[in-house]
């Protein structure tokens, strides 16, 4: 057996290729087994084989019985192609790994170093490599650069990280138990009423997240604005005009506002003090995944899941470090100087990187959050091998500049506060000026400082309040969540993990529970939350999921056992499922109504411009099965208006009318393409350009 080769398991094809190229003495040999590529190379006279997985090859699935019924508590781990439709390729990958493992005498797990990666490798070694998980070694790295891969290979961990794999395994099992039982309860309750299948789901993290959104929606929908008054004033000081602020920014009654205006308008007062203060602002902390996702949303409007996909690609191209991290630390071991010198090779960053290198001691700011497995996200300093797409280059630029900024000096501002008094009322004038730009010069255009210069003003100077007015305003409801602020709220409440949050938000959209960029909860979403609040409030409570999350972290640290966590989770789940079963008819009734209403709403395009009384809806022809837009008066024969529609892709009615003609617009989403909005008016100028 000693004579066999070493089998290295990688998480994905790109990672396998980079690992092979980095460790091989010459170029590695690319081979295939039934269409599945793998790599062979020699190192110090020994033969190595690198086989790529495709993420998870094994999954939790029901042990036996009907796959639509519930309750179900018996499960097993099985190859994904046996449990899921459309996972045929998995079968070939597993058989390739099985074959490559037969002659192997040593094994190395080189999947991503985190809970999911560890579980992926563990399951493959256990099930496809004849129980090799017991003797396998573990490679730990945060970037796919040749230097780090070689280092990781030289310092292999003597065994797998069993705790991490165990935590991952427990998470999958608990989530399966909850997801399957609760979702089937929803699906079956509706199916019995409507005799039709609707994809509904609710899970351990999905539930509390949706509830959070519902609570906000509730507040917004029952919000009563109250009036207040703002004083707007302009003062003449030394011949120049300034906008000044009143001491109280909200006056609760009209009477008080009137009193201020009549006392101060056209009156003269004096400057009572001029206070100057410098303030130092430290650079922003290095990116963890959550803060990268938020900045990407802010500057480019990318959803968290889109940003994660892009970051993942940049990682696989060895351009940035592993993005699924919650660390805001940049340890010296990543070698700041080498990275900065690498970045200086890139014309776009040469000046900035050199500035940092010339700035003396390299000491980055760091944030408080830590991650035992990976540092914060940073650029590797490698040059892109090919030009980057727009998405990739935007995220790459953001990561590079954030990294550079971490080494920047504090930015120093001078803040000036001029206080004045007129007829016993106080007003202020605020100015700000930058003394030293510091890190801001490294993080442009993602940080800017708006200056508001003031001339030198002195205490005792006369002030004429030339214009004083009041403006009525109203209090606003709390803002709607957007994907980025929701992600942040989930982080703060410890709902889900850095790796799953973006996907959970995406699922809520796909299920039709929420819609819009400024998130609105649909009636279906509301009904699901209301039903669970009624029958089993614990399941959707933040505390419940957060507790479980903490227990899972405890398993990762080796302080809690999988058995304990599972049995507690089951104890909680079993009575809930009973409750749901009893309430099935009721639940199905309200849910069905909400689904039907939502479906109608989604198909409703607008009022019919032809007959004026009907509504335009998306319909399907009974004869051809093709979809088109028709008038609701079509069926009564009163209106024949119809418009053709593209047959492929997902269509949604957009809430913005056409800019050119004012008609309703639709958004078409083809798989793998960006959504595209078009006007339904065949005569619209926007459509004439096209053809």
């Amino acid at each position: 057996m000693r004579g066999g080769h070493t089998l290295i398991i990688a998480e994905k094809f790109d990672a396998a290729q980079r690992i092979a190229s980095a460790l091989s003495e010459g170029p590695p040999t690319k081979k295939t087994y039934r269409g599945i590529p793998y790599f062979e190379f020699k190192r110090n006279g020994r033969k190595y084989v690198v086989a790529p997985a495709m993420g998870h090859l094994y999954t939790v699935t029901q042990r036996a019985g009907d796959r639509s019924l519930y309750p179900v508590f018996e499960y097993t781990w099985a190859p994904r192609h046996l449990a899921e439709r459309g996972a045929k390729k998995i079968k070939t990958i597993i058989s390739a790994i099985e074959k490559l493992s037969r002659r192997a005498s040593e094994f190395i797990n080189a999947t991503d170093y985190d809970v999911e990666g560890s579980l992926i490798g563990y399951m493959i070694l256990k099930h496809a490599c004849g129980g090799a998980e017991k003797k396998a070694k573990r490679m730990k790295f945060s970037t796919l650069t040749p230097e780090e891969l070689n280092q990781a290979f030289e310092r292999l961990m003597p065994s797998l990280d069993f705790e991490m794999a165990e935590a991952g395994r427990t998470r999958h099992e608990v989530d399966w138990l909850y997801g399957v039982n609760l979702s089937r309860a929803l699906i079956l309750s509706v199916e019995k009423q409507l005799k039709k299948h609707f994809t509904l789901s609710i899970g351990r993290v999905q539930g509390p997240t949706l509830k959070l959104l519902c609570e906000r929606e509730y507040e917004i929908n029952s919000f009563v604005p109250t009036p207040y008054w703002e004083i707007q004033a302009e003062a003449i000081i030394g011949g120049s005009r300034y906008r000044v602020e009143f001491e109280r920014n909200r006056l609760p009654s009209l009477r008080e506002a009137e009193a201020v205006v009549s006392a101060c308008k056209g009156r003269t007062g004096t400057i009572t003090s001029v206070v100057e203060k410098t303030s130092r602002r430290m650079p922003p902390e290095p990116f963890d995944l959550g803060s990268l996702q938020r900045e990407a949303y802010r500057f480019f409007g990318y959803t968290p899941s889109r940003t994660l996909n892009i970051a993942e690609r940049l990682y696989l191209n060895a351009l940035i470090s592993y993005p699924r991290t919650s660390s805001q630390k940049l340890p010296p071991t990543i070698n700041y100087e080498a990275i900065l010198k690498g970045l200086a090779e890139n014309p776009s960053y040469r000046k900035l990187a050199e500035k940092v290198l010339e700035g003396g001691e390299l000491k980055p700011v760091e944030g408080a959050r830590e991650d035992p497995a990976h540092p914060a996200i940073y650029p590797t300093g490698k040059l892109p091998e090919a030009p980057l797409s727009k998405d990739d280059s935007r995220i790459y630029d953001l990561v590079v500049k954030r990294f550079l900024a971490a080494f920047g000096k504090p930015s120093i501002r001078l803040m000036v506060k001029v206080s004045m008094e007129v007829e016993g009322y106080k007003f202020t004038l605020n100015g700000r000026r930058i003394i030293e730009e510091g890190w801001i010069s490294l993080y442009k255009p993602y940080a800017e400082f708006e200056e508001k210069p003031l001339p030198p003003l002195k205490q005792g100077e006369k002030v004429l309040l030339e214009r004083v007015e009041y403006v009525q305003k109203f209090t606003e409801p709390p803002p709607r969540y957007n994907p980025a602020s929701l992600l942040k709220a989930m982080e703060e409440l410890e709902l889900g993990t850095k790796a799953t949050r973006a996907e959970i938000i995406e699922t809520l959209y796909q299920r039709g529970y929420i819609r819009g960029e400024r998130i609105t909860v649909t009636d279906v979403g509301f009904t699901v939350v209301e039903a669970f609040s009624k029958y089993c409030p614990t399941i959707i409570s933040v505390e419940f999921t957060r507790n479980l999350e903490r227990q899972l972290y405890a398993i990762e640290r080796g302080e809690e056992s999988r058995e304990n966590v599972l049995s507690e989770a089951l104890e909680e789940l079993k009575p809930v499922v009973e409750e749901l079963k009893k309430a099935e008819e009721n639940l199905g009734g309200t849910l069905s109504k909400a689904i039907q209403a939502e479906n109608l709403r989604r198909r409703l395009v607008g009022s019919c411009p032809s007959c004026g009384t009907g509504s335009l809806v998306i319909l399907r022809s009974r004869r051809t099965g093709k979809r088109f837009i028709g008038c609701t008066n079509f069926f009564t024969g009163k209106c024949r208006q119809a418009y053709p529609l593209p047959q492929r892709g997902r269509l949604t009615v957009s809430d913005k009318p056409c800019k050119l003609c004012g008609w309703p617009t639709l958004t078409l989403k083809l798989k793998g393409k960006r959504p595209f909005t078009f006007c339904i008016n065949p005569e619209c100028p926007s459509r004439r350009d096209k053809s």
Binding site: N221, S222, F223, V224, P225, Y228, P252, P477
Partner: protein
């Protein structure tokens, strides 16, 4: 009994559903604040709420119904 505004179940002992009851309560509370802030009658208050973009959907539904009912 069903809520006359949305057709959902009314709350026990009430005449509106939970959502519209909450909205109605806020509407009454709001009137107190508005009356202190400015001179305004109940009817004008309701109209101001109906046309205020910051007012919630359920609140407007209740306000509209009150305006209709009270003629």
């Amino acid at each position: 009994m069903k809520c006359p505004i949305c057709g959902r179940e009314v709350i026990p002992g009430g005449s509106l559903c939970d959502r519209h009851t909450a909205a109605y309560r806020n509407l009454l509370e709001g009137f107190k604040t508005w009356s202190k802030a400015m001179e305004i009658g109940w009817k004008d208050y309701l109209k101001a709420i109906i046309s205020n973009p910051a007012a919630g959907r359920w609140v407007k539904e209740v306000a509209r119904r009150l305006v209709e009912e009270e003629g």
